[in-house]
């Protein structure tokens, strides 16, 4: 069977790419290893309840009609009505460090007034940051090579403010330790502080179902339990080096690395599928591992991302509001310095994210309370545990998480009616991301090019994050291909 395009992974980026390809009239199939779609942002049933596996909040919130913002752009491109998402806006969120808090909401006025209150000397510098922040027309996810920390240190006199601004941005999209690239900072700053948080009614499941429905309506094929065993690459002439457009990628290759053209994939069940193009959302490292070794050799930095997380989910009979918390997310750090790195221990209880889906404006209130706490975690350390220790350490890490939540937001200890936890190993198992690296490799490939003709990356390793970012990544890569195709066809 010959396809115009095959997509590896039915996550948000794969679905976004799939819808666009199908709209362009391409014969396309999405190949998903699992029995459900969603990838990093999926859902699961446990103990009679439906949980979102990854969703804290939809960042990049924009009201209906704001079409130049990323949310408006993706809805328009995918032809999905804003109302269909039933987005409820957050109440407020906060960055909490010892003895100091900065609240923010989807109205920038709140963060402005909070900075003026907590850091009166920095209000002007904050306005200058807003004015100088690169706009979306300049943001393609590429690396500026500039450190956000260095940039902010040059703008603010108060180191504490720099740490507090970085904290939520790192947790919601930082793929590298300690710092963000200035471009990434701008993308995340806009997504979180300027646009803000919302929650689709019913969580991620209705959004995913909507996307799958759109995809199928356009004629796309979705195959579940269709894990890809390998990507078939035909060794070819050195076209990537000849063509000017690929020069950026060519630089990353050592002399001697083979170039080739994608021919299709072989599924885990042995079935062979031929295709003109393959779009992989598996991640950069993971995609290369599916390619013949001569193509993976000599290609730029390929180590897995260094950062992974532990997360605890606690269901309570009472809603968080009844337990004294009416916010949506708290990004906490228990010292003046924020250390965003893989911890030396299994988890780092000194910093993290506390959030709940309960406190969004919604017409369908949730019947129970849910608290999610995310902590930085060390993949290698979790991996080294024997099964018995693993179970015990999960319980211990959950206690640390709930203690942190009690200190920085609200206390659910003794009130849990149900609990679940996941570790870097859980993330690795369900997302296929090496090292359980939620945000992928520290080295991004914004144009999605791989050095192999016809093989493109979509998703996390392009440098876009979140629901909106993932969809945008799939859409942009396909659009760029369509433009190149339109040019060469003439």
């Amino acid at each position: 069977m010959r396809y115009d395009a095959l997509i590896i992974g039915a996550g948000l980026s794969g679905l976004g790419a799939g819808i666009r390809l199908a709209q362009f009239g391409k014969r396309v199939a999405i190949l998903e290893k699992h029995t459900v779609w969603g990838g990093l942002n999926s859902f699961y049933k446990l103990g009679g309840r439906l949980f979102d596996s990854g969703l804290h909040a939809l960042t990049n919130y924009a009201p209906r009609g704001e079409r130049t913002k990323p949310l408006g752009r993706i809805l328009r491109q995918l032809r999905i009505d804003h109302d269909a998402l039933e987005l409820g806006e957050q109440s407020w969120s906060a960055v909490r460090f010892p003895g100091i808090e900065l609240r923010f909401s989807n109205d920038l006025a709140l963060l402005r007034s909070e900075i003026a209150r907590a850091f009166p000397g920095e209000a002007d510098a904050f306005e200058r940051l807003l004015a100088d922040l690169p706009g979306y027309e300049l943001l393609d996810g590429s690396s500026s090579g500039r450190s956000a920390r260095a940039e902010l240190a040059g703008r603010f006199r108060e180191p504490l403010l720099v740490e507090m601004l970085l904290c939520p941005l790192c947790y919601y999209g930082g793929a590298r330790e300690h710092d963000l690239d200035w471009q990434q900072f701008a993308i995340l700053f806009r997504a979180i502080f300027l646009e803000g948080f919302a929650r689709p009614a019913g969580g991620i499941r209705p959004v995913l179902d909507l996307l799958v429905k759109r995809y199928k309506a356009e004629g796309g094929e979705l195959r579940l339990r269709a894990g890809v065993a390998r990507i078939v690459v035909e060794r070819g002439v050195d076209r990537a080096l000849d063509r000017g457009v690929d020069r950026g990628i060519a630089r990353d290759f050592d002399r001697g690395a083979a170039h080739g053209r994608v021919r299709g994939v072989v599924l885990e069940n042995g079935e062979e599928l031929d295709a003109e193009h393959v779009y992989s959302s598996a991640g950069w490292v993971e995609t290369l591992a599916l390619c013949p070794p001569e193509h993976a050799r000599g290609v730029g930095p390929v180590e897995p991302g260094p950062l992974s997380f532990f997360e605890s989910l606690t269901v309570t009979a009472e809603e968080p509001r009844a337990l004294g918390f009416d916010g949506t997310a708290v990004f906490f750090n228990d010292s003046p310095r924020f250390d965003y790195r893989s911890p030396d221990a299994l988890v780092d209880p000194h910093s993290g994210v506390i959030c709940t889906p309960n406190n969004y404006a919604t017409t369908e209130p949730l019947t129970e309370g849910l608290l999610r706490v995310t902590l930085l975690a060390n993949h290698a350390k979790w991996r080294a545990l024997d099964p018995e220790r693993y179970v015990a350490e999960k319980a211990r890490a959950a206690e640390l998480a709930l203690a942190a939540a009690a200190r920085f937001a609200f206390d659910v200890r003794g009130k849990a009616v149900f609990q679940d936890t996941f570790t870097p190993l859980t993330i690795e198992r369900f997302t296929g991301h090496a090292g359980g690296a939620v945000y992928g490799s520290a080295h991004k490939r914004p144009d999605g090019k791989t050095g192999i003709d016809g093989l493109s990356l979509v998703g996390t390793d392009q440098g876009f994050v979140g629901i909106v970012g993932a969809l945008l990544s799939g859409i942009t890569v396909v659009n760029r291909r369509a433009l190149e195709g339109a040019g060469s066809a003439s």
Binding site: Q23, A486, S490
Partner: protein, 91 residues
């Protein structure tokens, strides 16, 4: 398709891509981008719909020809001469 029908066809495609836009008062000789919010991605969608609905191929170097409704009529006239108008938008 007549020239008037080509204008209808383009407006219908724009209505599909950008359902919120008010298209009744579009001027023929002013760039579409100056009258309504259309970016380069949207032009890609206009071209995509032309191909899907009418089998018309517009290579990228010709996109500029579609900048105004007058331009659309002039450029697409010969290509759409023997095609039937198809309306798809909810409008």
């Amino acid at each position: 398709m007549t020239n008037d029908e080509i204008v209808l066809a383009i407006k219908d495609i724009i209505a599909t891509i950008a359902p919120d836009e008010e298209l009744a008062h579009l001027k023929m000789d002013v760039r579409l981008r100056e009258q309504i919010e259309l970016d380069s991605m949207d032009f890609l969608d206009i071209v995509m719909e032309l191909r899907k609905r009418y089998g018309v191929q517009v290579p990228e170097q010709d996109y500029l020809e579609l900048a105004t409704l007058d331009g659309c009529v002039k450029y697409l006239g010969p290509k759409l001469a023997d095609k039937q108008l198809k309306l798809a938008s909810r409008a």
